[in-house]
């Protein structure tokens, strides 16, 4: 049997808006798959840029995972310097209105869900090591068959979107966030049927609602099995029919596909 990663991703702005402050990124390296989604707080300024830099920055940091707050802070401050230099280019011309300068002083904010999947040595192994970092309500779900093996953060549907912790660009606000960041490790048995889902709060709330309903994972399973083309349409449907506050919406689905391999 030969296995290949299947990664499907959708990023949608909220209905009626062109801008989207959510971002996702992923990259495959030998023995390592890195993924991240980030949701910029649109009340702040240049938060979309912050979310993008964080998602990309994490994915490009091959071999790195911040298990401790100090590691998260190193990662945050490095990306924050990059954000600041890009914003300075835009704002420091002296022509920016007073409110743009003040918003930039306050900085940008974003939630983050980041994952590293590593093949255990010696390869080939049936086990994968999974490291997950979440800040705020950007979420990671690991589904194994009909079981939800990982749900991080463990929130009910009605807890999403209400003042989540946010990674700030400014070090003034870092302390509480670093206390609330959640870094965990898990193992995946690839012999079983598993799906990894990373998403921002709107889809995370929807998945949490499904998991806690009597239907369980049925609709979530249907969604993750959708073709790339249909996935976008189906998420748009969920977005338009939901009673929740409309929001930007990002979802990344990851699993392994097995095929018979003839030498």
């Amino acid at each position: 049997m030969n296995a290949e990663w299947v990664i499907k991703a959708v990023r949608l702005s909220k209905p009626g808006e062109v801008r989207c402050d959510d971002y996702y990124s992923y990259a495959r390296y030998p023995g390592e798959l890195r993924l991240a989604v980030a949701d910029g707080a649109s009340e702040a300024i240049y938060s979309g840029m912050w979310a993008k830099l964080m998602a990309k920055g994490f994915v490009r940091s091959r071999g790195f995972f911040p298990y401790e707050p100090e590691g998260i802070e190193r990662f945050r401050s490095g990306i924050a310097r990059l954000w600041q230099s890009r914003v300075d280019e835009k704002v420091k011309s002296g022509k920016a209105p007073w409110y743009v300068e003040q918003k930039v002083e306050e900085g940008a904010f974003a939630t983050l869900a980041a994952v590293v999947v590593e093949e255990e040595r010696p390869a080939p192994s049936s086990r994968l090591a999974l490291s997950i970092l979440t800040v705020g309500d950007a979420s990671v779900f690991l589904l194994e068959g009909e079981r939800v093996a990982v749900r991080q953060p463990a929130l009910k549907a009605n807890q999403f979107g209400t003042s989540p912790s946010l990674l700030p660009t400014s070090s003034r606000y870092r302390n509480q966030v670093l206390r609330e960041a959640l870094a965990t490790t898990h193992e995946i048995d690839t012999v079983g049927d598993f799906v990894l889902v990373l998403c921002t709060d709107f889809m995370a709330a929807w998945i949490a609602e499904q998991i806690d309903s009597t239907d369980g994972l049925k609709k979530v399973r249907q969604l993750v099995q959708s073709s790339r083309r249909n996935l976008r349409r189906e998420i748009r449907e969920i977005l338009s029919h939901s009673m929740r506050r409309k929001d930007d919406c990002t979802l990344v689905i990851v699993y392994k596909r097995y095929s018979a391999h003839m030498n």
């Binding site: 909220k14 801008r19 649109s42 009340e43 300024i45 240049y46 979309g48 209105p97 007073w98 409110y99 743009v100 300068e101 003040q102 918003k103 002083e105 306050e106 400014s170 070090s171 003034r172 606000y173 870092r174 302390n175 506050r245 409309k246």
Partner: protein
């Protein structure tokens, strides 16, 4: 449930500030930044409120018109005739009462450099220079034609509601330091008339703040009954003139550490300058902006 309407550019909110510009506002009172006149503290607090509102509504694409904002001052002339006017100082906004927020943002009369203390993220504070836009100046002259001022606001608010029948209801914040001009009629019917105006999302919210020049007084804040001031005629009148805070605002206030009970009125009595800033923060909270 009332007071749930989402505020958006197509369905904006409305905040109208009604400011007592009478002579007694010249009295000094002591705040964190030293002793200044009540009028100076009020002008500063209003500019700060507008600044916060603009920052709340700023995005990368600029300031969004989530609110129409107005500042109305009231006093009397030498003959005792009520003078009620839009208090914007910048030429671009003069003689207009309610102005879309983006225009307000683009037209402060000046931007001053001020110092402020901010947390440094390591348990300390540092002083930094910040820009403080200013839209109005302190005024203290003449009498207190409160009833006429409230009637003027009623007309402004009624016109706005006619144009925005399904929006979050207007919030009117009235700040004064004393009683209405003795020769004038009781302002309570005019206040009731404002509160009776409604959009499909609820009645107009009228809040009243009484500023005190007395040192060391503790404000009566957000009362839900009159037990604390049952013998104080002015306090009773202000209580009757003030709307109950919507439940969501009560909840938000509690989250910020204020002891608010259900039925709390949007009222401060014998308030100090710092109370004013907190009140503006709580009282102008609205549902989600989108």
């Amino acid at each position: 449930m009332p007071y749930q309407a989402e505020i958006s550019r197509s369905s904006p909110g409305c905040i109208l500030l009604l400011l007592d510009h009478s002579l007694s506002m010249e009295e000094p009172c002591k705040g964190a930044s030293g002793e200044r006149s009540k009028a100076e503290f009020l002008a500063d607090a209003v500019s700060r409120l507008i600044q916060e509102l603009i920052l709340r509504c700023s995005r990368e694409d600029g300031v969004r018109n989530y609110f129409d904002v107005g500042v109305v001052g009231y006093t009397t002339d030498n003959a005792g005739t009520p003078q009620i006017y839009a208090a914007w100082e910048s030429e671009a906004l003069q003689n207009r009462v309610l102005v879309p927020l983006r225009e307000v943002a683009d037209n402060p009369v000046r931007v001053e450099a001020r110092k402020k203390l901010i947390e440094d993220g390591a348990g300390g504070v540092v002083e930094v220079e910040t820009k403080m836009p200013v839209w109005i100046s302190p005024v203290h002259v003449g009498g207190t034609p409160m009833r006429a001022a409230l009637e003027y606001c009623r007309n402004i608010v009624q016109d706005w509601v006619d144009q925005h029948p399904n929006s979050y209801p207007p919030i009117v914040v009235h700040v004064t330091d004393g009683e209405w001009t003795p020769e004038e009629e009781d302002p309570r019917p005019a206040a009731d008339s404002i509160k009776s105006i409604a959009t499909s999302d609820g009645n107009v919210l009228l809040y009243n703040i009484h500023l005190s020049g007395e040192k060391g007084t503790t404000a009566v804040a957000y009362p839900s009954d009159t037990l604390q001031f049952s013998n104080d005629r002015l306090a009773l009148a202000m209580f009757e003139m003030s709307s109950e805070l919507p439940p969501q605002v009560v909840e938000e206030g509690r989250r910020k550490g204020f002891a608010l009970t259900p039925g709390a009125r949007g009222m401060l009595y014998k308030a100090q300058p710092q109370d004013l800033v907190h009140f503006f923060d709580i009282g102008t909270r609205t549902p989600t902006l989108r």
